[in-house]
Amino acid sequence: MKKYIIIGICFVIQILCFSSAFSKDTKKILTVWAMGAEGRKIGEMAKLFEKENPDVKVITQAIPWGAAHEKLMTAVVGGIPPDICQLGTTWMAEFHAMNALAQLDDYIKISKVISPEKFFKGSWNTNVIDGSVWGIPWYVDTRVLFYRKDLLREIGYEHPPRTWSELLDIGRKLRKDIDGDGKIDKWGISLAAGGGGVWTDLGFFVWQNGADFLTPDNKFASVTTEEFREAFKFYVNIFREKIAPVEASVDVDLFHAFSSGYYPMFISGPWMIDLVNKECPDIKGKWDVSVLWKKKKNTSFVGGCNLVIFEKSKNKELAWKFIEFMSRPENQVEWYKLTTDLPSVRDAWKDKFFDDKPMVKVFGKQLEDTASPPNIPEWEQIANIFGQKVELITWGGQDEDKILKEIECQINKILESKRRKHSGATLVFLIFFSVILVLFVLFLVFGKRSEFKRVSYTPYVFIFPAICVLCVFLFIPIVASFLLSLTNCDIYTITDWKRILFVGLENYISLFKDEVFWKSLKNTFIFVGVGVPLSITVSLFMAVILNENFIRFRSFFRAGYFVPVITTIVAVAVIWKWLYNPDYGLINWFIGLFGIPPQDWLRSTKLALPSLIIMAVWKNFGYNMVIFLAGLQAIPSSLYEAAWVDGADKWQSFLHITLPGLRPTTFFVTVTTFIGYFQFFAEPYVMTQGGPMNSTISMVLYMYYQGFKFFRMGYASAIAYVLFGIIFIFTVLQLRLQKESQ
């Protein structure tokens, strides 16, 4: 036995050592991540780079946009990001705040290829945060006016609107109610009246008037300045005068609208040129693009993606070389040929390649005057406010001054948390911990003073490893979890501990108001409330049957029923997901034999949770059954014999002998099944991801998403403690019940 253990340990250690030895490659390796269409094409540029630098191997990885944000966050937190990554302009602030990006100023100083003037100003600025540069523009995107030349000619305009007043005039003239039914049949222009696109369209007017959403230091809202109010009123007025419709743009097919003149003008990006050519062939030659109209300036929005180097990269020099490579004008043109992404380098636009593309060149002209939203992580929240509030004016007809005040208020509240001073929380943490540790030690040591006389150190040495592990990974985390739940620990504080703040019970209060949390609570209660009695009933039933004396092959049946218990829940979930498949699954086939129509088990909000319950009961009834069996065997058969002599039938002896005799077993089974079911996680994680519409999200799943998808660890710890509290209360209740019934 001893021999085998030693061999086993040696074997394990050997493997561990081998696994950590990396194969030495003579080439230097650069890892590049890119998303979407760019992800698919960047391999080509990588090959060109490898040709120039034969001692380098570039490993590119394409990531779908949907998973990109999460994957990047996990990479930053988990410590294995790529060397270079494509980052959207609106994500720069976030990842900078996570301390994930490398500062590039020193590289720029000595570079011959890259300097601020070589790029468009608006685009360069998306990389400037707190006065330093954190990325280099890769490709850009801006918005211009798409308009129907012929329709404008009809109302007497040989050129597109060049000023705000021309926009109004043209818009009024284009807007027509042809059949006189009071409904407008042809609008002037399509603009966002509510929802996520509002801030972009509104932004044009704001910037053109020399205003901005926030103060230059990004600390306060500036929505009540003269310039902003003028732009804001102009914008909502366009809807009031019915020049632009208040309908949801998703309900209208843009191409059809443009062809038919329903929307004679709209604002969009470079990808639209090819699309309009393709989808609206009947108006070929009748439409054009132009830079936006002017008030003080004719600013448009600039977006696109930048290339960033991750701070943790070990190949920063090489990564910078790659970025320089991608920034050369000829390579920028090459990239346009591959993807039609607009070059961010100004010299690239002078290339002969664009000579026969006048529409694309319009975008180049617009790029000379662009602005971008404030470079702060909270921008997304602020953008949402505009989406909601503007709707109240355009749809709800409310007064714009009043709404502007509300917007200002909300923005300032969001920004306030940025301005909160550090609370020296680290120090408090340390003090708290040390106090607890000291109390712990005192508590142990001063147990029985008298025994200190003949103390041998051996037992302490023996329990040391176990106690150490349990302390570090169990006791302290339990306390730490509670403390975490009192802080604002999120992705930004994980990467910079100095930013952590005590927020008291704020997380718990937010939890109280959190709809999804209550849903997860409800789902968990249903799962437990239905699943536990069902599981126990089935197990008891099967155990009673199996316990009968006449049963043959008892251990065979027992083993068979036990198989689901020992298989991992993940495999069970994957298998049952296939069983529940609405078209080809075994279950729908089976119920079809009885004439029942096929059900969409996992995608129906009503059936999803019951489906999970059935699977859970199937998985663990064997375990409880085995325990019941053991408990049944402990009941002396003499009791049954006596009852039979007294004339009791099966049912009566079951009620009066079996059930009472099983009481301690039933108690144990109930409590453990209860606690187990309360923690259900893998089933919804694998099968439904909490859906559909949060109908299967459990408390632990919600906690996992908050903690490890969004990295809101403070919030997730609060959920953990609420869960623990509930389990604790229920367990104590059951203990009470048990004691009372005795």
Binding site: I5, G8, F11, V12, I15, L16, T74, V77, I80, L444, E451, F452, Y460, I463, P465, A466, I467, C468, V469, L474, P477, S481, I494, I545, L546, E548, F550, I551, R552, S555, F557, A559, Y561, F562, V563, P564, I566, T567, T568, I569, A571, A573, V574, I575, K577, W578, N581, Y584, L586, W589, W618, L629, A630, F668, T672, A682, V686, V700, A720, L723
Partner: protein, 289 residues
């Protein structure tokens, strides 16, 4: 009449039990069956248990050894399950060996020694049994991250290397070992560690085997902790890899069923060889609560 009626009833009961067994095991049979089918055979409305044209392509794709035509058609799945199997094996064996050692050492101290604070520490130990493991998820993750132990075997092994449950179980067993055995060894000049290693531990084989099986299965099947601690795909254990596969290849049921079989097979094999022992271990460990 009575006898035949009784015989008939008993037959019915056995049939019922067999029916129950079929329902219990059907998903597994279906899993095995699907794993040997090609895509066309899987997506038919009339299921059949034995595939007409059984194919190994799902398993080949799983381990990255598929023939070129299939690779052309369906692409590779990224990391081979061979990597994940290796991870699972290393982790499960290490956790079992290390935790048996550390737990039994502590159990020995609790069972055979008297020292100040013993009662209190032990009571605290038992109290931790009530804590759901998800409560420590966040702090342990942050701790391992700052120690640089994320994405490492040690990150999974160390937190699992001691368990109050294991200590309790072994201690109960050790209490039944007569003290005179230990006393006589001490008189003969045996050091405490040798008493533990050469005398007590061999006597504990039954409980160690039970706990070992229980721990191994638990570590092999564990999902939440490897999911959290391993962010690099090459370090995933089998359950996490399977969950990942199921998220990426949602409709490739043949592949997923093959993956499920690989994850489940070792446990089932152990079970087949020692089912009585395994079941008794579970029941035994359960009842002692």
């Amino acid at each position: 009449m009575h006898k035949t009626e009784q015989k008939f009833n008993r037959l019915l009961v056995h049939l019922f039990l067999i029916g129950g067994l079929i329902i219990t095991l059907a998903p597994f049979l279906w899993m095995i069956s699907t794993s040997f089918k090609s895509t066309e055979a899987i997506f038919t409305r009339t299921p059949n248990l034995i595939p007409e044209k059984p194919t190994l392509e799902n398993y080949q794709r799983l381990f990255g050894i598929e023939p070129p035509e299939i690779r052309e058609k369906k692409g590779t799945i990224g990391l081979s399950f061979g990597v994940h199997s290796k991870n699972s094996i290393i982790v499960a064996i290490s956790i079992t060996v290390v935790s048996l050692f550390i737990n039994s050492l502590a159990a020995f101290a609790f069972a055979k020694y008297n020292f100040p604070g013993k009662e209190k520490i032990f009571a605290l130990l038992l109290a931790t049994l009530m804590i759901p493991s998800q409560m420590t998820m966040m702090p342990v993750f942050l701790l391992l991250r700052s120690l640089g132990l994320l994405n490492s075997y040690l990150g999974l092994i160390i937190p699992a290397s001691a368990s109050a449950f294991g200590i309790f179980l072994i201690r109960q067993f050790m209490l039944t070992i007569p003290n005179d055995l230990i006393e006589s060894a001490r008189i003969d000049g045996c050091s405490d560690f040798r008493i533990y290693w050469n005398i007590v531990l061999p006597l504990c084989k039954p409980v160690l085997a039970s706990l070992g099986v229980f721990t191994f299965m638990g570590a092999w099947n564990d999902f939440l902790w490897p999911l959290i601690i391993m962010t690099k795909e090459s370090m995933y254990t089998l359950p996490v890899a399977l969950a990942n596969l199921s998220g990426e290849y949602v409709t490739e049921y043949g592949l997923l069923m093959a993956g499920s079989l690989v994850v489940v097979a070792p446990i089932i094999i152990i079970f087949l060889f020692a089912q009585k022992f395994v079941i008794e271990s579970f029941a035994h460990t359960g009842l002692k609560g």
